[in-house]
């Protein structure tokens, strides 16, 4: 089903997955150098498969925080997936596939699906990116854990700019419509204004307040 996707998008997914592998390597290295055994980054990368929550989970435990705090912080960061699942429920599949399809839900696979014009390409983009990340994130984490401190700073490669740039590029077409554009700008402003005071994950949820703009506009129209 990949043939339905245009080649530029497939190349883009390949670059995203490579960058995910390198960031995964930094996750593995950070976890091991903070005192965790190698299996921790490797196993969490497969069974949680949500990078920012894993960094946070390991970071809180390494700093002496309680396991309850670490789990709750990780779940809060992942709460945004509720909105993703509501938007792209058509691509996760049914029956036993639904379990795999649900597990593959992440920022990149969802934004790629939303950027596609028809159901077949939505599904293909979602599964291609999701499967690529399922391979690359744990592989990177394991490699980083084995290599230890060698790969601690991927920022020198500018990879931290790649993630927001990729998502921005893929939501731009949706932002051409005024309703979503105003809602997104308002939401981003709410998130930025609250980020200095709130735990990670919550500002992105408060951004949903920006939706009030589109609802009011529709009622007015």
């Amino acid at each position: 089903m990949w043939r339905t996707l245009d080649r530029d998008l497939v190349r883009g997914v390949a670059v995203i997955c490579l960058s995910v592998a390198v960031i995964g390597a930094s996750y593995g290295a950070v976890a091991v150098t903070s005192g965790f055994p190698i299996w921790v980054p490797a196993v969490t990368a497969v069974v949680v498969l949500a990078g920012s929550s894993e960094f946070l989970f390991v970071g809180i435990l390494a700093a002496g925080g309680s396991p309850v705090a670490a789990v709750l912080a990780g779940l809060l960061v992942n709460a945004r997936h509720i909105t993703y699942g509501l938007a792209v429920s058509d691509v996760v599949g049914s029956g036993w596939r639904k379990i795999a399809g649900t597990h593959l839900m992440n920022d990149e696979s969802v934004v790629l699906a939303l950027s596609q014009p028809d159901p077949a390409r939505r599904r293909a983009a979602y599964w291609l990116c999701g499967a690529g990340i399922l391979l690359c994130w744990p592989a990177g984490a394991l490699a980083g854990a084995l290599a230890g401190g060698a790969l601690r700073n991927p920022d020198a490669l500018g990879l931290d700019a790649m993630f927001p740039a990729a998502i921005l590029a893929l939501i731009l077409p949706a932002l051409r419509q005024p309703g979503p554009r105003y809602a997104a700008i308002a939401g981003a402003a709410i998130a930025l204004a609250t980020a200095p005071f709130l735990p990670p994950g919550l500002p992105e949820l408060l951004a949903l307040g920006g939706l009030a703009l589109t609802v009011r506009r529709r009622v007015a129209a």
């Binding site: 530029d8 998008l9 190349r11 883009g12 995203i16 903070s34 005192g35 965790f36 921790v40 196993v43 069974v47 949500a50 989970f57 435990l61 396991p67 779940l75 992942n78 709460a79 997936h81 509720i82 993703y84 699942g85 509501l86 938007a87 792209v88 429920s89 996760v92 649900t102 969802v110 939303l114 920022d155 490669l157 500018g158 700019a161 790649m162 927001p164 740039a165 990729a166 998502i167 921005l168 590029a169 893929l170 979503p180 809602a183 997104a184 939401g187 981003a188 402003a189 709410i190 998130a191 930025l192 980020a195 200095p196 005071f197 500002p203 992105e204 949820l205 951004a207 949903l208 939706l211």
Partner: protein, 108 residues
């Protein structure tokens, strides 16, 4: 770190199970409730709004502070290229290259 292996296994299992439940919530609700086309469109916009907020947060902040200049400059470069119709993989490589180049010049 003040946690033993059994505690760690339980914590990871709860984080993984909870994350799966969060991911499943959307498809679960959509399979049971019939939404009007208007609400479905609103749900897609909601995901776009959350993604836009995620772009703003990951581009501009680091912890609870400002991320510095290099990363936002790279993201803006990518955004401008994307708006001008550049291929997707060019957009993301240019964003990373711009940020990496600024850091090479000691701009944080």
């Amino acid at each position: 770190m003040s946690i033993g292996t059994p505690g760690l296994v339980v914590a990871i299992a709860v984080l993984a199970g909870g994350t799966f439940a969060i991911r499943l919530a959307g498809p679960f609700l959509r399979a049971r409730i019939e939404f009007s086309p208007r609400v479905v469109a609103l749900l897609e916009t909601a995901a776009v709004v959350v993604l836009a907020a995620l772009v703003a947060i990951t581009a501009l902040t680091s912890g609870h502070g400002f991320a510095g200049v290099a990363r936002p400059a790279g993201v803006v470069t990518g955004g401008v290229l994307a708006a001008r119709g550049a291929p997707f993989f060019v957009v993301i490589l240019a964003a990373a290259a711009c940020t990496a180049a600024l850091r090479l010049l000691q701009i944080p």
